[in-house]
């Protein structure tokens, strides 16, 4: 580790502060598995502004986590390869940068909170050491000052008795507290964008509420951009400003929070909203989406959702639907997007 110990500044060369905070354009990711190339993300386009929360929603295998890993630059490669697209931070395409610049960006500009804090934290080092490491590596802070910074951060994320707990190890923390430690690490160098990949999926609901409130509050205080990756539409309804719905590696629909929930323009979104039981209403039989998500190695022709779609016609199995605008800031990938949007289908 000694060789890499050098102080790196936190400015990104060529950054245009007037350009949008984070833009992802036509991102393509493939996995090379046993000689064949399996598409995981097939052209994802979205943007996050300061102070805005974008939720990327999808079921397992939809490509939402791979998208976040590609943006963060931590995609396992091989087998994963980014085969196209751009990820621009303040106008600078990160995919064109060398490893050292990306490492700087990861710490200073984009922070990430992972789903499973127990496996994301190193069990052999105390949490204080792991948080302090960021300051020592990227800021050249002394061990003593790094520890003080770590205490400050633990305090900020609501860990009681931070002074004494800074020397404890990950296994000595409960699930909710570990997630707070992860958030503290992600926030350490004051990033502009925070990516939270299923941050509360492993937690109990009362603890989930605590963590979501903490994230929301920190985002407001620091005016960060937040990308929330989740499968839980309830959590999305609570925090997101903008929603992108992914299915089989594609964004099927993207719009503002109210539009997505009240006037979906894609049959998949519509079906998904009807399939979730709600705590505040006593539902009849759940309207389910028949069939299974497709195997990414053998995607159906035309629209990937057509075998499970209630609105599908012959056209859908042949032609790939375009990603079109149905209203201001509302895009949907469906041959019948207009009709679905007007609730005529």
């Amino acid at each position: 580790m000694a060789q890499t110990l050098r102080v790196v500044g936190d400015t990104l060369p060529g950054a245009d502060m007037n350009a949008p905070l984070l833009e992802v354009e036509d991102l393509q990711v493939e996995f090379a598995v046993r000689g064949s190339r399996i598409p995981a993300v097939r052209g994802a386009t979205f943007a996050v502004e300061q102070g805005q929360t974008l939720a990327i929603v999808g079921e397992s295998g939809s490509g939402k986590s791979v998208t976040s890993q590609a943006v963060m630059g931590i995609l396992d490669s091989p087998p994963g390869h980014i085969t196209g697209g751009e990820v621009r931070l303040h106008g600078v395409d990160l995919l064109q940068q060398d490893a050292e610049t990306r490492r700087t960006v990861r710490a200073n500009h984009i922070g990430m909170v992972f789903q499973d804090a127990l496996s994301a934290l190193n069990p052999l080092w105390s949490v204080g050491f792991q948080i302090g490491e960021l300051f020592r590596m990227h800021r050249g802070t002394s061990r003593k000052d790094a520890k003080l910074k770590a205490i400050e951060l633990l305090d900020l994320v609501g860990i009681p008795d931070a002074k004494n707990r800074v020397g404890q190890y990950p296994h000595q923390f409960s699930g909710g507290m570990r997630q707070r430690v992860m958030i503290a690490m992600a926030l350490a160098l004051d990033p502009e964008v925070l990516i939270a990949d299923e941050p509360t999926t492993a937690l109990d609901v009362t603890v989930q509420a605590q963590i979501m409130r903490l994230l929301r509050q920190i985002q407001e205080d620091r005016d960060m951009g937040l990308i929330l990756i989740t499968h839980d539409l309830g959590v999305v309804a609570d925090v997101a400003d903008e929603v992108a719905v992914m299915y089989a590696g594609r964004i099927m629909e993207q719009a503002g929070i109210h539009q997505i929930f009240e006037r979906p323009a894609n049959p998949y979104t519509k079906a998904l909203l009807k399939a979730i039981p709600r705590v505040d209403t006593l539902g009849q039989e759940l309207e389910v989406i028949s069939g299974l998500p497709p195997n990414p190695g053998a995607l159906p022709g035309g629209c990937s959702f057509h075998p499970r779609c209630w609105a599908a016609e012959d056209k859908c199995s042949i032609e790939d639907p375009p990603y079109e605008t149905v209203a201001t800031g509302h895009r949907s990938r469906c041959h019948f997007a207009e009709e679905v949007y007007r609730d005529e289908r």
Binding site: V205, T206, A237, L272, A275, R278, L286
Partner: protein, 345 residues
């Protein structure tokens, strides 16, 4: 226990648990073992389940709901208390005597990935109960019986020779349900049957369970941490916290008129997929985590996280009863109705 709930049913309960306690000793020492304490996993639970009905058991991790499931099906012996299946006591039976009773009560496991033997074909998995209970179906009819069971749960009978890895999560859960139904039980105890599944698949399995209940007159104990799913399927709900039932009532009583502070906090923490309710629902954020069941708090176990707690709560254990103004049993000295599920008017 619950007079009002009991009166609706003329029939005898198919499953009756009275004051069930399950403590696990914690031992230290290799040769000379000393018991240094007990994990009080389940501490005095009463349940009565009638034919064709569903009791939902909700609670966070560590609340003892999975231990309760094991005790109910006779996989664990209760430390004290009684469990009666169709009027027959199983709490103190020896293993070989418990087998015939198991025909009437079966368990559906949470994880469809680890609860099916990867080296057995689906046909063998579903036929295994017949190998143990040989007098249920004559040997030469086992094959056709298995195909019928697969058909019943919505799987193709042609798949008997496939292995579990060839199926998706939802399909595997169907295999688990087919196996549980093989001996034509009266009661199914489902321990988090849908929590490992994606939302679009969750609905399929829930609808299957509801259809099977109608067709076969099954009674369910449905254990889950997801309150929305339980609301959907259960007639009656018991809310557990640290081994005790804190509130027990019909679905409407629990969800629309919760009286225990814990139930209220739990319900308010469940996100509702409707962005227009953001900021319009009551938000109760509990402090801290669930305490350890090894040394639970004195008196009311919820008092350490409760905003209503007084000295009395530390000294006396509140009993689960209807109280002076109540409609359903609530274990709280200060029980008071409060709607936290719906939007504040």
């Amino acid at each position: 226990m619950n007079a009002e709930l009991g009166q609706e049913h003329a029939a005898e309960p198919v499953l009756e648990a009275t004051d069930v306690v399950k403590h696990y000793p914690i031992q230290r020492g290799i040769v000379i073992k000393r018991t240094i304490g007990h994990v009080q996993a389940v501490d005095g639970v009463d349940l009565k389940l009638y034919p064709g009905k569903t009791i939902g058991v909700v609670g966070e991790s560590g609340s003892g709901k999975s231990t309760l499931a094991k005790v109910l099906v006779g996989l664990e012996r209760p430390t004290s208390g009684s469990v009666k299946v169709l009027g027959k006591e199983i709490g103190n039976l020896k293993d070989r005597h418990i087998r015939p009773v198991r025909r009437d009560i079966q368990l559906v496991f949470q994880d469809p990935y680890t609860s099916l033997n990867p080296r057995m074909t689906v046909g063998d998995i579903v036929a295994e109960p017949f190998a143990i209970h040989q007098d249920v179906v004559p040997k030469n009819q086992v094959g056709s019986e298995v195909k019928e069971l697969l058909d019943l749960v919505g799987l193709s009978p042609d798949h008997v020779n496939r292995y579990p890895h060839q199926f998706s999560g939802g399909q595997r859960q169907r295999i688990g349900i087919a196996r549980a139904l093989a001996l034509r039980p009266k009661v199914l105890v489902c321990d988090e049957p849908v929590s490992a599944l994606d939302v679009s698949i969750q609905g399929q399995v829930i609808n299957l369970l509801e259809r099977l209940q109608d067709e076969l007159g099954l009674a369910y104990v449905f254990i889950a941490h997801d309150l929305s799913v339980v609301r959907h399927i259960a007639d009656e709900v018991a809310v557990m916290y640290l081994g005790k039932v804190v509130e027990h009532g019909t679905g409407a009583e629990i969800y629309d008129h919760p009286r225990h502070p814990y139930t209220q906090a739990l319900l308010s923490a469940v996100p509702v997929p409707d962005p227009s309710l953001r900021g319009h629902r009551e938000e109760i954020i509990l402090q801290g985590d669930v305490p350890s069941p090894i040394d639970p708090p004195s008196g009311c176990r919820f008092r350490t996280r409760c905003w209503k707690a007084t000295e009395r709560c530390a000294e006396e254990v509140p009993s689960l009863d209807v109280g002076n103004h109540g409609t359903h049993p609530t274990a709280c000295f200060y029980a008071e109705e409060r709607d936290v599920t719906h939007a504040v008017k």
